[in-house]
């Protein structure tokens, strides 16, 4: 099996960011979507803190994930023994009805997160987003401040250089922390393979279809693929020209649908 040594550097950087976050920002939590990215990140949290997970994992649950996702979740909590908090998101009827349908559905998570932040007063929330997923995410900072209701002022982001992160904030703001912003989809799969990190089996092909990106069942669709092992997924991604989030309906409702989602506080 290839060792992919270049991943050591990416991992080292992520561990550095995690330790900064844990030292500088309290109380801290992480949104675990149960997908490949945040599960790889959870693995790196265990590395950073010597086998421990020193802050809660939070799932924003719309009760619309695929059954395999819930199964995987419960098994991993059991195997790794960490604290999981499940935050139920408000129903779609309560969302802004002027939004396009898939975007409206995705907004439920934004609202769930807002409720959580207001109630539990987290100062920092770790997220497993990556720059190469989506062009809006490419413009993110590693430590990205938000107002308490989650708004992202993307036109005036703080300067961020030489691993000096903005970690002090006035009351009323929280910070989103993005420790794997610099990883790509391929990096994550190579890392998952190398480290033998568990993943939801839906990523593997069955009957010519597989999920490349996991989301709620009503707004996420599998892609055509015969990749039924991690090695095959990696080989597929090394040549594909399909964007990763092609199967995520909310990105494609309108030109700026994802921008509106993110400015409003979406992950």
């Amino acid at each position: 099996m290839p060792m992919y040594d270049y991943l050591d550097e990416l991992e080292s950087r992520t561990i550095y960011i995690l330790r900064e976050a844990y030292n500088r920002v309290k109380p801290l939590g992480m949104l675990w979507s149960i997908g490949k990215d945040s599960t790889a990140l959870l693995w790196m949290i265990r590395k950073a803190f010597y086998g421990r997970v020193p802050f809660p994992m939070i799932q924003l649950d719309t009760e619309m994930e695929l059954p395999e996702v819930y199964e995987f979740r419960d098994q991993l909590v059991k195997d790794w023994g960490f604290e999981l908090k499940v935050e139920l998101c408000p129903p779609e009827e309560e969302m802004d009805q002027t939004l396009p349908p898939a975007t409206r559905s995705a907004t439920r998570k934004t609202e769930g997160l807002r409720n959580l932040l207001l109630r539990d007063q987290y100062r920092g929330m770790i997220l497993g987003i990556r720059r190469d997923e989506q062009s809006m995410r490419a413009k993110e900072r590693i430590f990205s401040p938000r107002t308490l209701d989650g708004k992202w002022d993307f036109k005036d982001q703080p300067a961020e250089l030489w691993d000096q992160y903005k970690t002090d904030f006035p009351q009323g703001t929280h910070v989103r922390i993005h420790p794997i912003l610099h990883w790509t989809e391929l990096d994550i799969w190579r890392y998952t393979l190398r480290e033998k990190i568990p993943y939801v089996p839906l990523y593997l092909s069955q009957n010519g279809k597989r999920y490349r990106s996991l989301g709620e069942k009503n707004i996420t669709f599998p892609i055509d693929s015969n990749a039924s092992t991690l090695e095959e997924i990696i080989a597929e991604l090394e040549v594909t020209r399909q964007p990763e989030r092609a199967g995520r309906a909310m990105d494609h409702d309108s030109e700026d649908s994802f921008e509106r989602l993110r400015a409003g506080g979406y992950m």
């Binding site: 550095y16 330790r19 010597y50 490419a138 036109k155 703080p158």
Partner: protein
């Protein structure tokens, strides 16, 4: 898996607004076949909607505001690959207003491409960006003269503009790695040579020039520097793991480390990484690592470990070349926070030596620095800082300035005009002010040494009773003695502190410092605080050094709760007091106290006598 190189080169594209940075990137992606399927069609549609031909820059300008105004607002990153390797392109806004975003993008780069419009030539931001590349320490700079189609592909114009750029860069000590005439919109000289439009050009394409640039290697060949990020201790785990990153050099198991600015030394017993199959014997520059030491010396976030013979400089004052990005002006006398690595110090702007005009590189004779200007300043701290000149160690020789919550500037440290103060000891520093009196003089007159007798134990264990009793006995022996306890400290010195973890820790830190000063002044100081955390007590020990003596006042929780002299346990049990030591907050008993006093099985008199004997012994002149 092929043996193809998977490492990536980070490259920033800079230049004046509208000189075509985003277009160049769009074209690079298109020519290397890196755009996702359907992207070209999407771009066409979005461009048409705004009445344009295909606009390559929309690949990167993701915000609707960016597309509507056709201007890049924030930095972004995008991936592409050539036959040789992978690239991350960092697009940086050229507009003056977004300089802080340009800096955020450029600081992470191995190399830069400076884009200059052939028609407009070198402009204000061309120069400013070039200067910033110099300040950010980016050595590999390539130049493209863009929009050659607008000047009729004329060689004369190309020669003129490229000479202007080369001259300016030369003043900054930068030699351009390549200069290529291009037309990004039409793809001329990007991936293939434009034989038709620019037959006079005899160089290589932008892409083949890029493949010749080098990824900045980690600084393995520089002296070892380890920045302490945190210290981890876990229940049921004996290890005290010091975590952080090797910034330069190599850290080996068995190395004897010198910590700065504390000047304490200890040896690395083990390197610690979770889930590692084999024992780790070394860690290279760039690695996040943890280690344990042979001695329980005081180490905290911000300390820098080095080898004994090649430590960083210690100083309270240093010069820096900085950029300033705050809306308000930088002035002499201003208080800021300087951070580098995990260190953070309050600093005062002692002087503004010069403000650099990036247009002609002349020094302006002004005493304030405006937004987006660069300057040479001298900064001073009341504390001893461990520093290194940027030229000696880029990783630890650069700093970022904060004003309250915000990043307001940054730059590189220049220690050329300052002397290392490491060998000028703390005590010697004091003599220079006090001249005549030394600690020994005071001890001689008092007839005993100064000392910090640090009592620690649960609430109700008898700390105060023992302290008062010992004080009385020492006083009767005509010793200089004083008890610090909650009553005389909380009302004044620490009036501003509450009972959060941070405040409790700060409470103990201040008491430790005050006690150390009093001991230095010749007094025997007895402190009577629960001080439940080892870390805090270790800090107090670090402040007082040899004069520190830890006394564990031992009684079990049940006994203390039964005594409950102030009724606090009852309140804690009823939930009226939160975070009460022993009930809802842990007490970390000392590992190696100088003495243990068992108040559970001995009378107050016996206990006081035991402490008295010990104190008399250790304060003997």
């Amino acid at each position: 898996m092929t043996s193809k190189n998977l490492t990536q080169l980070n490259m920033v594209i800079v230049g004046h607004v509208d000189h075509g940075k985003s277009t160049l990137i769009g074209r690079l992606l298109y020519d290397t076949d890196s755009l996702p399927e359907g992207k070209v069609e999407e771009l066409k549609a979005i461009s048409e909607k705004r009445g344009m031909d295909i606009e390559w820059s929309f690949v990167l300008d993701a915000f609707q505001a960016e597309r509507d105004q056709a201007v890049t607002i924030d930095t972004t990153q995008i991936w592409f690959k050539t036959e040789k390797r992978n690239y991350v392109i960092i697009d940086a806004p050229g507009h003056r207003e977004f300089l802080k975003n340009m800096i955020s993008g450029a600081a992470a780069a191995d190399a830069a491409i400076l884009v200059v419009d052939a028609d407009e030539g070198v402009q204000e931001q061309t120069k400013r960006h070039a200067y910033l590349l110099h300040l950010l320490g980016i050595q590999q700079v390539g130049v493209v003269i863009n929009k050659m189609d607008l000047v009729g592909h004329k060689k004369e114009r190309y020669d003129e503009v490229s000479q202007e750029v080369v001259d300016y860069l030369a003043h900054l000590g930068i030699t351009a790695r390549f200069i290529v005439p291009i037309s990004a919109r039409h793809g001329d000289n990007i991936a293939s040579i434009a034989e038709k439009t620019m037959p006079w050009y005899d160089g290589e394409t932008v892409l083949s020039n890029l493949d010749k640039l080098q990824i900045q290697p980690p600084l393995v060949d520089r002296p070892m520097r380890f920045m302490v990020q945190d210290v981890y201790r876990y229940k049921g785990d004996e290890r005290r793991i010091i975590v952080g990153r090797v910034e330069s050099g190599i850290l080996n198991k068995g190395d004897k480390l010198l910590f700065s600015p504390s000047n304490l030394e200890a040896t690395v017993v083990s390197l610690e990484k979770w889930n590692s199959e084999k024992e780790i014997t070394y860690a290279k520059a760039g690695e996040s690592m943890g280690f344990t030491l042979d001695k329980p010396i005081f180490v905290e976030r911000g300390h820098i470990a080095s080898t004994h013979d090649n430590p960083p400089m210690l100083t309270r004052v240093f010069a820096a070349n900085i950029f300033w990005i705050a809306h308000h002006e930088l002035k002499e006398g201003m208080l800021l926070t300087a951070k580098f690595g995990t260190c953070s110090w309050p600093v005062m702007v002692q002087s503004i030596n010069k403000v650099i005009n990036t247009d002609d590189l002349q020094n302006e004779n002004q005493k304030q620095v405006k937004r987006n200007e660069m300057a040479e300043v001298v900064l001073r701290s009341s504390e001893m800082m461990a520093l290194y000149s940027y030229v000696n160690n880029p990783r630890t020789g650069r700093l970022v300035l904060f004003d309250k919550y915000d990043v307001v500037g940054g730059g590189i440290i220049d220690m050329a005009k300052f002397a290392d103060q490491r060998n000028v000891s703390k005590a010697a520093d004091l003599y220079s002010v006090e001249h005549l009196l030394r600690r020994e003089n005071r001890e001689w007159r008092n007839g005993h040494k100064g000392a910090v007798i640090w009592l620690t134990g649960l609430s109700g264990s008898g700390k105060s009773s023992v302290a008062m009793e010992v004080e009385k006995l020492l006083f009767n022996q005509e010793k200089q003695v004083y008890v610090l306890d909650g009553d005389n400290v909380r009302n004044g010195l620490n009036r501003d502190l509450g009972f959060s973890d941070e405040d409790r820790s700060e409470n103990i830190r201040r008491i430790g410092e005050v006690a150390a000063l009093m001991a230095d002044a010749g007094m025997i100081v007895i402190t009577a605080f629960i001080s439940p955390f080892k870390e805090d007590r270790m800090r107090a020990r670090a402040a007082a050094g040899q004069s520190f003596h830890e006394v564990y006042i031992e009684a079990d929780l049940a006994t203390c709760e039964q005594r409950d002299p102030k009724g606090l346990y009852q309140k804690a049990r009823e939930g009226k007091i939160k975070e009460f030591t022993g009930i809802s907050s842990p007490y970390e008993a000392p590992d190696n106290p100088e003495i243990v006093v068992d108040t559970q099985h001995h009378s107050l008199e016996e206990c006081a006598q035991q402490v008295l004997t010990y104190v008399n012994d250790v304060t003997k002149v």
